[in-house]
C-alpha cells in the first residue's frame, strides 16, 4: 500500500438509491480507453490534432476475457496490429492527463438498471428537464490531443499528412460532382476546402520519417533487360 501523504474528499452517505443523482443514459457502457487510428487527423488552431476513437472492454468482445480473465492487452494487441496507438490511461507520458477515463453514477431508466457510465475527464453531462446535455471542454480536450503529439504517443509526419490530405481531396472531388441542391452539401464543400487549405498550411514544418522507421524506402533500379523474368 502506498502510504504517501494524501488528502481525501468525503462523499455523503446516501440513505437510498433515489437520494443519489444518476445520469439517465441509454446504455450503461463498459470501461473504455481511447486509441488513435494512424490516418485520423484534423488541422485545428494551427496544429495537427489526432481524432480519437474508443476501444471498449466488454467480456466476450474482442477476446477481452481471454484465458478466463479480463485482459486489456488482448484487446489492445488487436488495434496495435492495425497500426493504431492505444492511449493507455496509466501511461506516465500522459502527464497531467494520466487516468483520463472517469465515471459518473448512471441509470438506464428504460431498464431500471443502475451502474457507472464511463467517459473522459473532458466531458461533463448535464441533465435538464429529464434530458442529458452532453458537454465537452473542447479547449482542454484539444490540449490533451496536442499533448499526445508532443509526448510522441501519436505520430504525425509528412507522409501521413500527404495521405490525410489525399483522402480529403478525394472526398471533395466526389462532392463536387453532386448537385448542390441543399445548404448542407454547400457547407460540406466549404468545410472540405477549408480543411484541405488548413492542412496544406501545416505540412511545411512536419518531420520526414527516418529511414529506419516503419515505412520502408525502396531503391529504384534501372531494369536493363525488362523482358527477362526474375
Amino acid at each position: 500500500m502506498d502510504l504517501t501523504a494524501k488528502s481525501f474528499s468525503p462523499e455523503r452517505v446516501r440513505t437510498s438509491k433515489e437520494a443519489r443523482d444518476y445520469l439517465p443514459v441509454e446504455w450503461l457502457n463498459n470501461v473504455h480507453e481511447l486509441m488513435h487510428k494512424p490516418l485520423d487527423w484534423e488541422a485545428k488552431d494551427g496544429r495537427w490534432l489526432p481524432i480519437l476513437s474508443p476501444i471498449f472492454f466488454l467480456r466476450g468482445l474482442n477476446n477481452y476475457d481471454d484465458n478466463g480473465q479480463v485482459d486489456p492487452e488482448a484487446v489492445r494487441r488487436i488495434y496495435r496490429a492495425k497500426g493504431c496507438a492505444c492511449i493507455v490511461p496509466d501511461d506516465d507520458r500522459l502527464g497531467e492527463y494520466k487516468h483520463y477515463i472517469a465515471t459518473v453514477p448512471a441509470t438506464n431508466p428504460a431498464y431500471g438498471s443502475i451502474g457507472k457510465y464511463y467517459l473522459t475527464i473532458f466531458e461533463s453531462p448535464e441533465m435538464v428537464a429529464g434530458r442529458v446535455i452532453w458537454r465537452r471542454d473542447q479547449k482542454a480536450f484539444d490540449a490533451f490531443r496536442a499533448h499526445l503529439v508532443d509526448a510522441g504517443i501519436v505520430v504525425m509526419n509528412s507522409t501521413i499528412a500527404e495521405l490525410v490530405i489525399a483522402a480529403k481531396r478525394e472526398s471533395l472531388s466526389t462532392m463536387e460532382q453532386v448537385p448542390m441542391n441543399t445548404t448542407s452539401k454547400q457547407r460540406t464543400i466549404e468545410k472540405l476546402s477549408a480543411d484541405i487549405a488548413a492542412m496544406e498550411a501545416l505540412t511545411a514544418g512536419l518531420t520526414k520519417p527516418k529511414a529506419a522507421s516503419v515505412k520502408r524506402a525502396f531503391r529504384v533500379e534501372r531494369d536493363t533487360n525488362p523482358h527477362t523474368p526474375d
Partner: protein, 306 residues
C-alpha cells in the same frame, strides 16, 4: 330512495380497479443485430474458450516464366482471428407472495431473459463500429448523417472490394437524419426512385428498418456515443464481424443439474433453489457469447451527430 349506483356500492362491494392480466410492454429496444455478424458454431469440450478462425487469401498472381524455366514458388497468404466466449448473465428473484398474489408470472421472467439476451448480443456487435481502421471513418463530428455520408461509406467499402449487400448500423437518431437528408434530395428522379420512397415510408417492422441502394439500414439503442458529440455507427459487408455462442445444451445433458434448469442452444436459464428458505424464487440466465472483428477492411466507421 335513490337507486344503488356503481359509486355508492364500490367502496364495500367492489374494487377501485380490477387487474387486467395482460403484461403490456413499455418501450424498449427490440432489434437484433446478429445478422450483421457472421456466425461460427462453437465446439464445446474442445479445451479452450477461444476459437481460432483461419483465413486465407485465395488469389495470387500467376508467374509467367519462360517455356523452359522452372517457376518460383508462391507462398500462401494466411491470417487468423480469435473469438473468445465469456460469461454474461441476468439474475432475477421474486418472492413467493408476489407469485401467490398474481403480481408476477414465471413466463414473464423467461421472456425477459430472451429479450435481454438479444439486447446484450446486439450491444457487443454495436460496440465494434469504432474499431474499423483500414477504411478512413466517414462523417464529421457534430454533423448529421446525410445521403452523401452514406455514399462515402459505400464507396469506401466497394473500393476495398467488399461485394454484395451491405449493412448500416447506427442509433435511431442517425436513421432519421438520413431520412431527412433523403427528403431534401429535390432532384426529381432521385426523389421518386422506388428505393427512396421505400426508405422514407417504410414503417419500422423488424431488424431491418429499410433497404436503400443495396444497404440494409438497422438501428440499435446501444450504439456508442463518443466524445459527447457523436454516435459511432458503422457500415459493413458480410464477413466483417464474427460471433459465436458457446452451446450449453450438451453441457446440461452431461451434467444435469435439476429439473428446473432449462437450456436453449445459447443460454441456460435455471431456477436457483437456494432461496427457498426466504420464500422467494430466483432465476438466472447464463449466456456465453463471443464477438470479434473478422476482417477490418470489410467495415467503416460512420460518425453522426447525437
Amino acid at each position: 330512495m335513490a337507486a344503488d349506483t356503481y359509486a355508492s356500492l364500490n367502496s364495500d362491494l367492489g374494487l377501485a380497479a380490477y387487474l387486467n392480466m395482460a403484461f403490456i410492454e413499455l418501450l424498449h429496444e427490440t432489434k437484433d443485430l446478429k445478422e450483421v455478424a457472421q456466425y461460427f458454431p462453437f465446439t464445446g469440450g474442445a479445451g479452450s474458450a477461444t476459437m481460432k478462425l483461419r483465413q486465407i487469401q485465395p488469389v495470387d498472381a500467376f508467374t509467367a516464366p519462360g517455356e523452359d524455366t522452372a517457376p518460383s514458388i508462391t507462398n500462401l497468404t494466411t491470417a487468423n482471428k480469435s473469438l473468445t466466449v465469456a460469461k454474461a448473465n441476468l439474475y432475477r428473484s421474486v418472492t413467493d407472495l408476489a407469485f401467490i398474489t398474481g403480481e408476477m408470472e414465471a413466463q414473464q421472467l423467461v421472456s425477459s431473459f430472451a429479450k435481454s439476451l438479444v439486447y446484450y448480443r446486439s450491444s457487443l456487435i454495436a460496440a465494434l463500429g469504432a474499431g474499423f481502421t483500414a477504411n478512413t471513418a466517414v462523417g464529421s463530428t457534430g454533423v448529421a448523417l446525410t445521403v452523401d455520408t452514406v455514399y462515402a461509406a459505400m464507396f469506401a467499402l466497394r473500393k476495398a472490394l467488399v461485394v454484395g449487400d451491405l449493412d448500416f448500423v447506427s442509433h435511431q437518431t442517425a436513421i432519421t437524419q438520413f431520412q431527412a437528408s433523403l427528403r431534401g434530395e429535390t432532384a426529381t428522379p432521385f426523389q421518386i426512385a422506388p428505393a427512396t420512397q421505400s426508405a422514407l415510408s417504410t414503417a419500422d417492422t423488424g431488424n431491418v428498418l429499410f433497404s436503400w441502394m443495396g444497404i440494409n439500414f438497422r438501428s440499435h439503442a446501444s450504439v456508442p456515443k463518443i466524445g459527447g458529440t457523436d454516435y459511432s455507427g458503422f457500415m459493413v459487408g458480410k464477413g466483417a464481424i464474427a460471433f459465436t455462442e458457446a452451446p450449453v445444451s450438451g453441457f446440461i445433458r452431461q451434467y444435469a443439474f435439476n429439473p428446473q434448469t432449462l437450456a436453449g442452444e445459447e443460454a441456460i436459464i435455471c431456477q436457483d433453489l437456494s432461496t427457498e428458505a426466504k420464500g422467494s424464487r430466483s432465476w438466472i440466465c447464463h449466456y456465453y457469447p463471443g464477438v470479434a472483428e473478422l476482417e477490418d477492411a470489410r467495415g467503416v466507421q460512420v460518425l453522426s451527430a447525437i
